[in-house]
């Protein structure tokens, strides 16, 4: 079966995210008030051939640990769809 896996990668809490800061300022300049904590990460879509959703998630987790995310600076969240 092919599972669609969505990987969300976010900079770790506490790490300066200059992109997020710049966007937060820009939102303020556009008049959107009360926006804080803007963080910019990455989204990666994968189609994974696996026997089960659990197996697809396990494979995606390994991919994140080895390549897709850097554990020093990033956290990741996986969502497995059908």
């Amino acid at each position: 079966m092919t599972f669609s896996v969505h990987v969300r990668i976010i900079p770790r809490p506490g790490l300066l995210d200059p992109q997020g800061q710049a966007v937060e300022h820009a939102l303020g300049a556009l008049g959107f008030e009360g926006v804080t904590g803007v963080r910019i990460g990455k989204a990666i879509e994968l189609a994974i051939e696996a026997a089960s959703a659990a197996e697809a998630e396990g494979m995606a987790r390994q991919m994140c640990e080895r390549l897709l995310a850097n554990p020093v600076t990033e956290d990741f969240v996986l969502t497995v769809g059908a």
């Binding site: 790490l15 300066l16 200059p18 992109q19 710049a22 390549l67 897709l68 850097n70 020093v72 600076t73």
Partner: protein, 234 residues
């Protein structure tokens, strides 16, 4: 025997020619080695040059670290051989976990290409023996992702073990920020515990002969070649 240095060319490297020239100027034999190679042809040392390997896709250095040649680079590093990463090479060494920490987008979100002042804080490495401890040199940087980050425990360990090789310091009479990228603790370069794996953001190969305005960078290469030819630990 003339020491031999392998300079690795990844897709997107762009400082390899100057690096080869700098090694030769220092009296070494330099070979350009393709990233697909599976051996280093018995080179005594490796330099991972600057550039934008794999277009900095995903994260700078993240894909290059899995290039076939990196298995041999890893083996050389683990055997105590000299492995030096300049700029993108430093990013690759961090991604490969041969050095701790990571290099992120500059805090001001801009590419920075200008001279900076760095203080050489460790001279017993494979490429800094010809400096005096705490000597300040002016040397170019050129990078978009040079903000060195690591957790506090790692930073404390690096400091305690004297593994900060160079640090950005204030430039007299300059209103530019002395730290060009927001690196934690002003760190510009670090090494492993043995001092044989060294990574830094500045580009010594760009300032290695008088015709380009200075040759302070030459001393990194002559330190390396001297170390390799005498076998004397720095």
């Amino acid at each position: 025997m003339t020491p031999s240095v392998a300079v690795i060319r990844f897709p997107g490297s762009n400082c390899e020619t100057e690096t080869v020239a700098a090694v030769r100027r220092a009296g070494g034999q330099a070979t350009l080695v393709d990233y697909r190679a599976i051996s280093l042809d018995n080179a005594d040392a490796v330099i991972l040059p600057g550039g934008f390997s794999y277009g900095d896709y995903l994260r700078s250095g993240a894909i290059a670290r899995f290039a076939p040649v990196m298995t041999a680079v890893q083996a050389l590093a683990e055997a105590g051989g000299a492995v030096i990463g300049i700029c993108n090479g430093f990013q690759i060494l961090c991604e490969a976990r041969l050095l701790p920490g990571a290099l992120l987008h500059n805090s001001q979100q801009r590419f920075v290409a200008r001279p900076v002042d760095v203080r050489i804080e460790r001279t017993n490495t494979v490429c800094t023996a010809e400096f005096t401890r705490d000597e300040v040199i002016r040397i170019p940087v050129a990078h978009g992702e040079g903000r060195y980050v690591a957790d506090e425990a790692t930073l404390d360990l690096l400091e305690a073990e004297g593994r900060v090789v160079m640090r950005y310091v204030p430039v007299p009479d300059s209103d530019m920020p002395h730290n060009p990228n927001g690196s934690h603790r002003d760190i510009a370069g670090i090494c492993n515990a043995g001092g044989n794996v060294v990574g830094f953001m500045p580009h010594p190969e760009r300032l290695a002969e008088h015709s380009v305005g200075g040759d302070v960078g030459h001393r990194f290469f002559s330190s390396l070649i001297h170390r390799l030819s005498t076998g004397v630990p720095a």
